[in-house]
Symmetry: C2
């Protein structure tokens, strides 16, 4: 099966079935950070212009967001870290392919036919609903109403909506109506299986339970498939249909031969790509988690199907990760297995070393950019979630106030992608490997009496020949049997009108022959780690956000210095000529050291200025005061602890550099500087 | 006038009129690099997979290219340099806005109506031609034929086509047909003015000179406008029409208020954006110079219209640049003025300091990434090229084998963009500045007898009121005069059907009043430097390409180390265990220093391995040999001179770091290392 969910990367839906079930089973401690308020975070993100709805002065467009300066810098730093962590450290071949993609390519990949959601229309109002979401929400509301009617206290589940004013939930009010026990049980079953229904099945549920427009009650049309790709026409004739790519992967597959050549024909190797992709969501919500245009970073690691070991596996094998295996989920459980990657591969929980290696690398990357490892797990796809060709798939899921969010997919896609494009274009996408020792193989060979083909098949002769020559070993084995028993081959041949073509035995000979082979030719398998950068950024926001215990209005975004939008806030004690000159010197030294900084020489108090920048996640503050003029020393403040140290400007800048770019701790980095007692935040 | 050419950034056309004329007037030395062979360059770019046509195994799509690993790394390094040079050094506010843009926004900006080229169709074959290109090519071919017929030697002008096999020139063969002198003169005039014709004018030329399908001679339909934006539908209803943005600027304008707020209401400031834009070219050619999807980097510098000085102007004022002013061009000349920016602004050649400042910054950026300053000039837009609202505009043009190519636009767009969006959305996009001293102003005020409006105008009353209240000071002055003389106002009001509306004098009073004002409110002007990264990259290829005099088959791409895709090639003398261990050590030190490198441990000779990497533009080679095992020393090779020095690994890596990232010269950077005599390239 080739469902939308089983396409590579996360399904763009916040994965529901598993999650919905899990939400209720998580321990309280796991489930919520008692201190965390999404409202407070959103207020900071908006006020500091981390991001905002696009085209807001025109009323906005759902699912489209712009990143403002701090969001844009955070994103650039995360992308830069990704590039260093994966592309540079691992010698990957980065490519930049176009977003515009012609129809034929995405037809071959399967996206034209299968990359769709089910929607249904209200014929009266013209409103359009995504069928699975509608059924889910209406049934959840009815279950809630039932509980109210039974006098059971209803737990408040937080709204998924970040733009409350604009886009209300479809079901506006919960009516306290008691349901019979049987219906309650049926509803619960439907919710648990909500991701698995086909469109017609959703339609039947809507009829059976009378689910219509949740506001007016009017009946809806039956669900129809809606392809999620944005369509456009390339060139002036309008005849070359194209789409905006739904993922960056196809460009990498299509360039396989060039990449293999660039890599001097050596295997295994990986390509990588960072760029925007597009999905025309039916009704996007959940802020940055479900958008119509988003940044992806994808790796295609091409590997010998007979040898999925990884040269650097040792570097991750002792890393302990949290796994949620398919067996556990299929048994209806959610128990996390804490296990080293080495052990997981050894026990066959993770299919192979290369997949395990990337699980480890993904873990390390996410921790490096500010993800809380306690809120990260790897969930294996269940058998019915995966495409038929996929070997194994693990999603890195991050825990947020929206539940566990799929942020990185890591799939072993076997040889599927290269095979379909090769079959369609007749371009070989394969590796030829010189064997160390030649080997002897037995293979079926098909020989034909070419000169008899013309007289018998006339204009169809080339088609019959081509058909015979393109049979696989397995086909040939069957045809050999057919010839043996029936002395002829009877078959339908594409492109020939006749119902059946008969090929007499005297025209064709199929025999097994022994051959000595010096070259092994194979289609590589693909291991694909695929990152949704926007979702990761949102998770970083949640994991790094807290408020100071002494004052809940003072919010802090504790980004790791490496990815923080700005590294240093320079704060002159007063805005006067003397300190301006000293500040200029600080700026020039920071600029020379290529450390991104901002100056705040406004009249606000030092404490206020630092508070403002704690919200921007700036890890360091440098205060310029009258002693700076005297002896060239400055004060360095740590964002998280508000501790201060003092030293010569050059030493302070060196400390900032070491902590930011070399990953040294604050304690270690500032050990040669003097503790400074006056608190900066007063 | 708001022609396509006058829209911001370069017209996507390789600018013709001016250029075509110039081609003939350039001195031979300026016009061609005798050594340069585009064919040799293209062969290297293809072989080393700098870039390639997208979807090549599917037959390709014109105007779409993928960057392979070295092209992608070069692009990433150029973008990174751009970000440091402009965004970080100048404290710009970078934003990342969506490419999907709703119809209404681009309707307001003018793109829906005016961002078009003229095309004409062959009704018989269905072929589509871009009208101006067709007329130009046919006339050029006829002029060439005329010269042949007259026995005049025709100078070979290089083909603009990089995919010769696929897309031949429209005019396949030159027929030696003599024209009468009058026609020759007319043709030359047409060529000189080719950019200035409207569609109907082009149509008339086609009829008059019988220009049809150049292959069959069949007549073509009259030119029709073809909008160059890719259209799509946002959301499932298909009713929200959208486009892929043709430039990144609109997102910056729409976020103006948020950016001003982020900047603590301080002026002037600049926003910046790096991202893909799209233009559905009618028939793209010229390789990377005219593509349908391309990377742009744009700056919008918002400035007080009454004060366009720039705080850092001094840093560029002594820089000498090559200017081609509009006066010179309008006089039909092409004389380059070599002048300092300070002098050019002083003399009023460049309109203001801010514009001059950016001309200087653009110059410095381009030189930093490998552009030859001798092949760079700034061409001022002529009056008929500029939009009516534009104050001044200078294009950085780079000389290539295709002629002078517009690569960076630098325009003073006045208050146009903010004004149109503010007018459309009723959202104020303006700066409010507290005046140091309150001032007294005389302003017209319009007071109406509101209660009399209803009875007289009925349902139109609100429209009349709104019309009156939205008049400018200048409008009010005229209306006051009209009231004085005619005792009523007679006008057409948008939204009211009546031909004219009469507003009697007793309902409205317009008087000049004195007011004390504490706040000055103004719409900022925008200075917009706009970079076409793909065109710049192509120019860098040409400017950095050469072949070794001793062997023209040995090509070199002399990228500055800062932007070179890879900085170091590590070459072990032999591929054996001993040297493998030493190589591992070199790799680990380079990785720690975050220097991008590659290892070539193939069996090829050292010379061959270096030659391969000269083509990739890798500036340094480190050779690992048996002495490395003895004393830890390595050899460092310079790509351009093939000179070698030797020293301890740590010192060699430090030299690489200093030369690459601190801009130190090879001589200075290696002065403490020992000269090494054996030539690496043998």
């Amino acid at each position: 099966m080739f469902s939308r969910q089983s396409l590579r990367l996360f399904s763009s839906s916040v994965q529901r079935s598993a999650k919905t079930k899990l939400k209720h089973k998580m321990s309280a401690a796991q489930a919520t950070n008692a201190e965390f308020s999404r409202e407070a975070l959103e207020s900071v993100l908006k006020r500091r212009f981390f991001f905002a709805p696009s085209f807001e002065i025109y009323g906005g467009v759902s699912g489209l967001y712009d990143y403002g300066p701090p969001g844009c810098a955070l994103q650039a730093n995360i992308v830069d870290t990704w590039r260093k962590h994966f592309v540079l450290e691992e010698d990957m071949l980065e490519v930049d392919c176009t977003m515009l993609t012609p129809h034929e390519v995405l037809k071959t990949s399967g996206h034209v036919d299968k990359f769709a959601d089910w929607m249904c229309k209200d014929p009266k109002s013209g409103e359009i609903f995504r069928a699975d979401h509608l059924v889910e929400e209406v049934i959840e509301a009815r279950l809630k109403g039932d509980k109210e009617a039974r006098g059971i206290k209803v737990e408040e589940v937080e709204e998924e909506d970040d733009q409350k004013k604009k886009r209300k939930k479809k079901v506006k009010e919960i009516k306290a109506v008691k349901l019979d026990d049987e219906t309650v049980a049926e509803f619960e079953t439907i919710l648990a299986k909500i991701d698995g229904f086909s469109g017609p099945e959703l339609g039947q549920i809507m009829i059976k339970y009378n689910i219509g427009n949740p506001v007016t009650g009017d009946p809806l049309e039956q669900p129809v498939e809606f392809n999620l790709m944005f369509e456009t026409a390339i060139g002036p004739s309008g005849q070359l249909k194209g789409y905006l790519r739904p993922e960056t992967a196809q460009g990498q597959f299509l360039n396989f031969n060039k990449l293999l050549d660039f890599n001097n024909e050596r295997m295994p190797f990986a390509s990588a790509s960072i760029g925007k992709s597009f999905r025309n969501e039916i009704s996007p919500r959940s802020g940055l988690l479900r958008v119509r245009e988003f940044l992806m970073a994808e790796i295609e690691h091409f590997v010998d199907p007979e040898n999925k070991s990884h040269a650097n596996f040792d570097s991750v094998k002792d890393l302990e990760v949290s796994l949620l295996s398919k067996e556990v989920q299929q048994a209806g459980k959610t128990d996390i297995l804490k296990i080293t990657i080495g052990e997981a591969v050894k026990q066959g929980i993770i299919d192979n070393e290369t997949l395990g290696y990337f699980v480890g690398r993904i873990y390390k990357f996410l921790v490096k950019i500010g993800i809380n490892p306690e809120k990260m797990r790897f969930r294996q796809h269940m058998s019915n979630e995966m495409a038929h060709y996929a070997q194994d798939c693990w999603d890195a899921e991050l825990q947020t106030s929206y539940g566990w969010i799929e942020c990185v997919g890591c799939a072993d896609r076997s040889a599927y992608d290269l095979s379909v494009h090769a079959a369609k274009t007749k371009e070989k996408l394969a590796v030829r490997e010189a064997l160390k020792e030649p080997i002897t193989v037995e293979e079926f060979e098909c020989n034909i009496e070419k000169k008899k083909f013309g007289p018998l098949f006339r204009k169809d002769a080339p088609k019959v020949e081509e058909w015979l020559s393109s049979r696989t070993q397995c086909d040939l084995e069957n045809l050999a049997k057919e010839l043996e028993t029936k002395l002829k081959i009877t078959t339908k041949i594409p492109g020939i009108d006749a119902e059946n073509v008969e090929i007499p035995g005297e025209l064709v000979k199929i025999e097994k022959k022994r051959k000595t082979v010096h070259i092994r030719e194979y289609t590589p398998n693909v291991i694909e780690p695929s990152f949704g950068i926007g979702r990761i950024i949102y998770s970083v926001f949640e994991h790094c956000f807290w408020t100071r215990p002494e004052d809940s209005a003072r919010a802090v975004l504790s980004f790791p210095p490496l990815v923080a939008p700005t590294k240093v806030l320079v704060v002159p004690l007063m805005n006067n000529k003397e300190l301006q000159d000293a500040t200029k010197e600080v700026k020039s030294v920071l600029r020379k050291a290529q450390i991104p900084f901002k100056v705040d020489d406004s009249g606000a108090s030092i404490g206020k200025r630092y508070a403002r920048n704690d919200e921007l996640g700036t890890p360091f503050g440098i205060t310029v005061d009258y002693d700076t003029i005297e002896d060239g020393s400055v004060t360095l403040r740590d964002r998280d602890s508000t501790l201060q140290v003092r030293g010569a400007l050059a030493d302070v800048v060196a400390a900032v550099q070491n902590i930011t770019y070399k990953g040294i701790s604050w304690e270690e980095g500032t050990k040669n500087l003097t503790k400074f007692e006056s608190k900066s935040d007063e």
